[in-house]
């Protein structure tokens, strides 16, 4: 993206004397000897700057969407640096190569990867800074570095009692080379990591001052709205430009690749202009597309030709020789991200530059889209990323930026595009609906000898058109965590005009439900306790066994329930974290309403940076999974989307939120992600508990009262 010259120019501009690129395994010094003059910033690596005013600035390549990453990242750096927490501030890094995520090389936040990718590089960065500052102080005192110690933003000379603040060492430190392998702190030396440090973004989020994407105001900006086709792929047939322009405050009507844009002085004038426009559209590419047609298609798809994702040779024989065969079919609906902050973006395109403001999980994606539309170079696009009012995979989408940049380019004005809730629900890209069919064999001892799994769904991961196997469909299946000697996984590509993209825990959100429901069915078929049955099939994985045992122990598995009628166990492994949960439910036999009393969750994600935000992520993902399990389904009609707002796309409210207990395993294993792993547990822990309570096995989500009553009637 940026050439050597550009990078050097940047370094000069920023007054940096050293730059290193951090990778998970090592710190690599990219450049360069001591600078001739500038020494007003000590920067031992791209994300860290210390200035003579004693300010420690940590630059962030990750978006804050509620996960607490803007607190966790500086905690790691500051702890290893031995900085005083109060001297640390953070800024979003410029969207330039040297500041990017060291693994995927983008400014993007997804896949529960931030801490996994940054933990070691940030520790090394902070530790390198600490070692250099100590050396700088030792040089100034002309003593050995071993006589000096860094404590909370100062270097002390032990025997003389002298000290320098970090700010006072900037000039000397910036002339010293960066050590390749600085000594990392021992866990016992941590002062911030592992403690519940208060989140840095919360005071502004409580006062009302926090700036989200929608809170962008640029002088001279107009509001942009877009008239969009009601059905997928529908072509515009007519619109009344003059009528729209007659609306007071409407300035521009722009036909472009996403519809017809109306730009106006106020948001309400833009909406009135859109109404007056009276755009007419032809039929969509699949006029008969509806909820019923998609439900039928997903069922039929399970018999269509498939792509092989895994095919162990012993599967057919094991199935033939089964002591017992078990099979089941499961269906999951399309889901909306239903992010509280609707899609929005602001852009200002000028002749030689473009600036954007958008609540994006992918600033790199924003930069790419803006560069493509404007014809400018990436380095001419300044990307601003305010707080995101939720993300969950949905804010990797760049639709809003596409529209704001296009309209700003066409009008020459800064444009703020705001989607209504109806637009956000109807025009976003969904978690695909899925169909699953599983066929498995048990031997006489109740061990699973073969597992044959067909999954049908659209492609959410990777690039390029289908047909190809989608990891979003088969992750968690082709690498099924249970000890099963023979596994076959077939993927059926669902090629429909409905746009899809990753949702929180893209594969786990459906494979958690199918795998963990089916493991429960197998346990019962084998007449075994579901906890014991899982442990028996996890013997190669002590960490997985530990979380199952912990969830069972903390939930009182095997003991009488108080209040609830049934309990269900689940476990999952994703994003390098092991999780398990027990849900306790009761079922109203008259209304079909499920009451989830409590979910007890156990987690082994390796070391925990901030136990308070970690707990919040685990609990929040369980709530989102429970919301999907109990309530969520996108409805389609007439070739487009029928669901429109929170009045017909329901998400979980307070009355249905259970008590959640989270128990972390004290673990020194490789650090894992925590934003998503618990989500897959929610649905199957509830359906398994419903089975425990009633004997009714529900294999289709969501668990609407009608569906529950229907299942109860079959028992």
């Amino acid at each position: 993206m940026s050439s050597t010259i550009d990078r050097r120019a940047f370094l000069t501009r920023a007054g940096l004397t050293l730059a290193i690129v951090a990778t998970p395994s090592s710190l690599k010094v990219l450049a360069m000897g001591p600078a001739a003059t500038a020494s007003d910033v000590f920067s031992p690596g791209p994300w860290l700057q210390i200035t003579p005013d004693n300010q420690v600035t940590v630059l962030l390549c990750k978006s804050e969407m509620g996960q607490g990453i803007h607190t966790a990242i500086p905690m790691i750096v500051a702890d290893e640096l031995e900085a005083d927490w109060s001297q640390v501030k953070t800024e979003m890094a410029p969207v330039e190569a040297e500041y990017a995520d060291p693994v995927h090389h983008m400014h993007a936040t997804f896949g529960s990867q931030s801490i996994r990718h940054l933990y070691q590089p940030l520790r090394k960065l902070g530790a390198a800074g600490r070692e250099i500052l100590v050396e700088a102080a030792a040089n100034k005192w002309n003593v050995a570095a071993s006589e000096c110690e860094a404590i909370q933003g100062k270097v002390h000379h032990k025997s003389s009692g002298r000290s320098f603040s970090y700010g006072e060492l900037v000039e000397e430190a910036s002339s010293l080379p960066v050590p390749e392998n600085p000594r990392l702190k021992d866990k016992s030396e941590f002062k911030l990591m592992g403690t519940p440090v208060a989140r840095r973004d919360l005071p502004a989020k409580v006062s009302g001052e926090a700036k989200f994407g929608l809170d962008t105001f640029v002088p001279g900006m107009l509001y942009g709205v877009v008239a969009r086709p009601p059905a997928y792929g529908a072509k515009m047939t007519s619109y009344d430009e003059q009528a729209a322009k007659k609306v007071n405050g409407v300035r521009h009507v722009v036909e472009f690749d996403r519809g017809i844009g109306i730009c106006a002085d106020t948001i309400d004038a833009a909406w009135k202009g859109r109404e007056a426009l009276n755009a007419q559209w032809g039929p969509g590419v699949e006029p008969g597309l509806s909820t019923a047609s998609m439900d039928k298609y997903l069922a039929d798809a399970l018999d269509m030709s498939a792509l092989e994702a895994r095919n162990d040779p012993g599967v057919p024989a094991a199935l033939r020789q089964a002591s017992k065969r078990v099979h089941a079919t499961y269906f999951l609906p399309y889901l909306s991200h239903a992010i509280m902050e609707p899609m929005n973006a602001t852009a200002h395109v000028q002749a030689d530059r473009c600036e954007t403001w958008s609540p994006s999980q992918s600033p790199s994606g924003v930069q790419g889209v803006a560069a493509r539309i404007t014809g400018l170079k990436p380095e001419q696009i300044k990307v601003n990323t305010p707080y995101l009012g939720g993300g969950y995979g949905g804010r990797g989408a760049t639709d809003g930026v596409h529209e704001a940049v296009s309209l700003s380019k066409a009008t020459g004005k800064p444009i703020k595009v705001i989607w209504t809730r109806e637009e956000d629900i109807k025009y976003e890209a969904y978690r695909p609906g899925y169909g699953h069919r599983i066929d498995a064999s048990l031997d006489k001892t109740g061990k699973v000898t073969a597992w044959s799994h067909r999954v049908a769904g659209s492609i959410v991961h990777g690039r390029g058109p289908g047909p190809r196997v989608d990891s979003g469909a088969v992750s968690g299946l082709r690498d099924l965590q249970y000890d099963i000697p023979n596994i076959k996984v077939d993927y059926i590509w669902v090629n429909k005009p409905i746009p899809v993209r990753p949702w929180r825990s893209p594969s786990g959100s459906h494979n958690g439900f199918t795998v963990e429901s089916f493991m429960d069915e197998l346990a019962h078929a084998a007449n075994q306790d579901p906890v014991e049955f899982r442990l028996k099939h996890l013997q190669h994985s002590p960490r997985a066994q530990r979380v199952v045992e912990l969830a069972a122990e903390k939930s009182g598995w095997g003991k009488p329930l108080t209040g609830a009628e049934g309990r269900g166990i689940t476990t999952y492994y994703t994003d390098e974290a092991y999780v398990a949960a027990v849900a306790e439910v009761s079922v109203d036999r008259k209304t079909g309403v499920i009451d989830v009393h409590r979910i007890v969750c156990s987690v082994d994600g390796g070391p925990i940076i901030n136990p308070d935000t970690a707990e919040a992520q685990i609990a929040g993902a369980l709530i989102m999974g429970l919301s999907a399990a109990l309530k969520e389904k996108v409805e389609f009609a007439d070739g487009g989307v029928k669901s429109a707002n929170f009045s017909d796309y329901h998400t979980l409210r307070m009355s249905q939120a259970p008590n959640i207990e989270v128990h972390f395993v004290d673990s020194d294993a490789k650090i894992g992600g925590l934003g998503e792993p618990s989500l897959p547990l929610a649905a199957p822990s509830v359906t398994n508990a419903i089975f425990d309570a009633t004997g009714a096995r529900i294999r289709r989500l969501p668990l609407t009262p009608e569906r529950v009553l229907e299942a109860l009637s079959r028992v």
Partner: protein, 154 residues
């Protein structure tokens, strides 16, 4: 036609040129740039736009601006920093993404000022209209209990 409209918000007087039927929400957050009040749904289903009008919690997306004239409007910015609800929200570390929290706080302030000893059912009744996609409901409940206790003891 747009007309000159004067509103009293957080004790201050603001005059704007606006169509009389524009929802108060948009005047507060886009015209006056008091952007702590959030847009979530536009149909009173999510509570993100909750403000107080003459002390009562209201969805500002449902109130035409002309109908707010002459009334005392309070937004998140008008709740003092040391209010027990705001303090509890920090102590319990309630927000995740934070987008819905202005509305949550406005609903919670109205609740504890009316009822400083709310039962769980009271809390659910007051808060059921405020959606949170990050799933902070448990911490919201804890924070309301703490804030209510603070109000009782003051």
């Amino acid at each position: 036609m747009a007309q000159s409209i004067t509103l009293k918000i957080n004790g201050k007087s603001y005059t704007v040129q606006a169509e009389p039927d524009v929802p108060l929400l948009w005047v507060i957050r886009e015209y006056l740039q008091l952007s702590g009040t959030k847009f979530g749904c536009g149909i009173a289903q999510c509570g993100a736009c909750t403000v107080h009008v003459d002390g009562q919690p209201m969805r500002s997306c449902q109130l035409q601006v002309i109908r707010a004239v002459g009334r005392e409007i309070t937004t998140i910015e008008g709740i003092r920093e040391d209010h027990p609800v705001k303090q509890a929200w920090i102590d319990i570390q309630v927000p995740q993404c934070g987008y819905c929290q202005s509305g949550q706080i406005m609903s919670a302030v109205a609740l504890v000022e009316k009822n400083s000893n709310p039962s769980e059912a009271d809390i659910i009744q007051a808060m059921e209209g405020n959606l949170c996609r990050c799933g902070t409901y448990t911490r919201i409940k804890q924070a309301i209990y703490q804030a209510a206790e603070e109000v009782r003891n003051s």
